[in-house]
Symmetry: C2
Subunit: 331 residues, 2 copies
Amino acid sequence: MKKLINESDDVVDEMLDGMTAAYPDLRRLPDTQVLVRDDAPVAGKVGVVSGGGSGHEPTHGGYIGDGMLDGAAAGDVFSSPTADEFEALLDATDSGEGVLAVIKNYEGDVMNFETAIEMVEMEGTDVATVVVNDDVAVEDSLYTSGRRGVCGTILVHKAAGAKAAAGADLDEAQRVAQKVVDNTATMGMALTSCVTPEKGEATFDLPDDEIELGIGIHGEPGTERTDVMSADEITEELTEGVLDDLDLDEGQEVVTIVNGMGGTPLMELFVVNRKLQELIGDHGLETWDAWVGDYMTSLDMAGASITVCAVDDELKELLDAPADTPGLTVQ
Amino acid sequence: MKKLINESDDVVDEMLDGMTAAYPDLRRLPDTQVLVRDDAPVAGKVGVVSGGGSGHEPTHGGYIGDGMLDGAAAGDVFSSPTADEFEALLDATDSGEGVLAVIKNYEGDVMNFETAIEMVEMEGTDVATVVVNDDVAVEDSLYTSGRRGVCGTILVHKAAGAKAAAGADLDEAQRVAQKVVDNTATMGMALTSCVTPEKGEATFDLPDDEIELGIGIHGEPGTERTDVMSADEITEELTEGVLDDLDLDEGQEVVTIVNGMGGTPLMELFVVNRKLQELIGDHGLETWDAWVGDYMTSLDMAGASITVCAVDDELKELLDAPADTPGLTVQ
């Protein structure tokens, strides 16, 4: 294994310190793997938080800042944060207006967030939740009952964060978060496995002449192993999977994301975006905004996912509202 | 080879179309590999342009937009744009106020830019140039006489772009660009080779138990092959190389960049940043701003570079000025 790390046990700890060293607007809660806005809790504002295993950077800590998240708990690599971490996160981000917890649908994340919520509710903190399950590839999977939460989560952070920043109450923040979830679908694929710092070798075997469609962001099995295909063929498989699920009316406006899994050159993501936009047009849909980049990664995995979110005037306003975070800036 | 591409000959063409499909503010000049601001030339403003081989995305096209570049020419992968492409770029970005060409120090880029400049000057376009040579690793290299231009180029784009946006004339834009060059140093390293679409295999051999220090952004030889080292040891090697070159006074403020080479997880770049900031403090320097991300990549190479730029009040104002580009947003 060759990685830019020291001891594998220290990688999350050192990453978090490296993040606060880069971004003075982030603060690490002492003796935790929780990052929050330096000014948290923000008086009079509903808190919006998330969390999950590390290895998906910039998710989630990279989306902390004005207009998006108030804080995020980082688990160990590909492991859920503990209930204690989630509790510290909720405590630190409640200004008295309550906190919206955006949870990717993995059993550990859901269970530990729920335990934490029970604890803080006893102390008087109101918490609302939304569970993101945008991955259309498979029902049930390693770590998940039902569909997995993947890159569409970023759009939930953005919309709910903007709603909270605009002064919405907890119910309203939850409503728009759920609206994004209801209108978003994602499907991914891998050219290669990823290598965790702890294991030091590929988490799954993928022969040199095969790719995997429908892969999860931890390398969980997808829908199909196939021979290597062209970028256009892969883009078509992913896009059709996503659009089949959403079943949108002609003329519908959408946000698209071509997301890199961490080891994919940006050049290749643009090649995918070219074909994606062609397919969006072929389906009679209209791209209102197209994102291309590494938003929800899987360590060094080579591959990509495609996300489509159907937007109405409300979601467009929220997605277009200012945000200032390490991983996403909108002005 | 597994890549998200179609035919290797089409990759740059399809990438550029994928970029304009994502960013309506970018326009591709017909029958070229040149991208410009959609509103180029911007009336009354000095143009700031760059260009070079593809494979370093978001460099350079990703830095086109308000406050940075007016346009960029993309060569084939790791190949200089032609003189014709540079000429089209200069033509399209001259509003009558002249154009500053930011050139990374590679023989092909310098030669072809110079040829293009001779052509457009005959037509009455004023062009000033700055040659970026921030790589401290080696004097002379494959493709280069003198030092190579690498990630520090982005700071030149930012400062010169801000100066031009503020209404400076061509001489002033060139002066601040040169000031960045004079105060910036970079050193990189690779854990793995990169694979070009055309060749389809590693461009150089790097055994599983070795890394290369001082590598160039096309895999050109560096200073040393060594056994795998820890992130802290690697960060120290790169940082000391950079700081030896700059020879800064105690108390000097600096901008630092931890740049990923394309295949490196963001997690690892933050681990490097943690140690970098410790070393900056040990040297009695003060970090005014710290950037962490993929700014100047080498396709799918795993590795990183460290850039340090000494800043005064003028450079701080320019680097802090608003910019709105696909690859860098400052608000």
